[in-house]
């Protein structure tokens, strides 16, 4: 299964092309591609409300790409119906309104769990893929820290 369907796990320093990525994971049996993309949010109202000018992303690239492949493997073990998978994280300076990450999962049909698979992918990326962002706005700049403490099993 894994041999026949593509998996792309990439740390990218150029703009993301959602159409091209969907095309790359589409095979003759594919009838649905669920794409989640994160966007740099200019105005945050939930919790500590604030404004953001841009984010600066940094990655431990070789480990990040390995952990993205692990997330793809975890998706396939939970949703064997998932066909192609693309996981991409942009790094560098990203202005408000810009796509930051993509999780794309392909399947034959939309009612196969493929929405849940993409949701799982972004949740897991935020837990174990070594990427960090520094938030820059009118209030100054600050590194954002996650909350998850991975163990050896992650």
């Amino acid at each position: 299964m894994t041999d026949t369907f593509p998996t792309f796990c990439i740390i990218a320093d150029a703009a993301l092309d959602l159409d091209a990525l969907a095309a790359q994971i589409t095979r003759p049996t594919t009838g649905a591609v669920v794409i989640f993309t994160g966007i740099v949010r200019a105005v945050t109202s939930r919790g500590d409300s604030h404004e953001t000018d841009h984010l600066e992303y940094e990655a431990y690239a070789p480990m990040a790409e390995a952990k993205m492949r692990q997330v793809a493997d975890e998706i396939r073990s939970r949703w064997p119906v998932v066909e192609g998978i693309a996981i991409v994280q942009r790094i560098g300076r990203l202005d408000a309104g810009t796509p930051t990450t993509i999780i794309a999962c392909a399947a034959a049909h939309r009612d196969t769990g493929v929405f849940d698979a993409a949701r799982y992918g972004i949740d897991r990326l935020k837990e174990i893929v070594p990427v960090w962002k520094k938030e820059v706005g009118p209030q100054g700049e600050e590194w954002v820290e996650g909350h998850y403490k991975p163990t050896g099993k992650d």
Partner: protein, 80 residues
Amino acid sequence: MITVLFFATLKDRAGTRRIELELTEGTQVRQLKSLLGERFPALRPALGSCLVSVNREYAADEDVIPSGAEVALFPPVSGG
């Protein structure tokens, strides 16, 4: 000889991205953290909560660091 990489806030605290270190055989992650705290006092407040990877896998305090390892110290991840 091992390589230690620092990312995000840990890089800012250490003032460097990367160092090389000679370790005695059997050194655990916990002991490496305290060695690094002596060399970079600004790291100390972050050593309790930081994550450590050894050869690109998450490591625990009691894990032994093999010779030639690539170790990294960083805060909980915030990608996406």
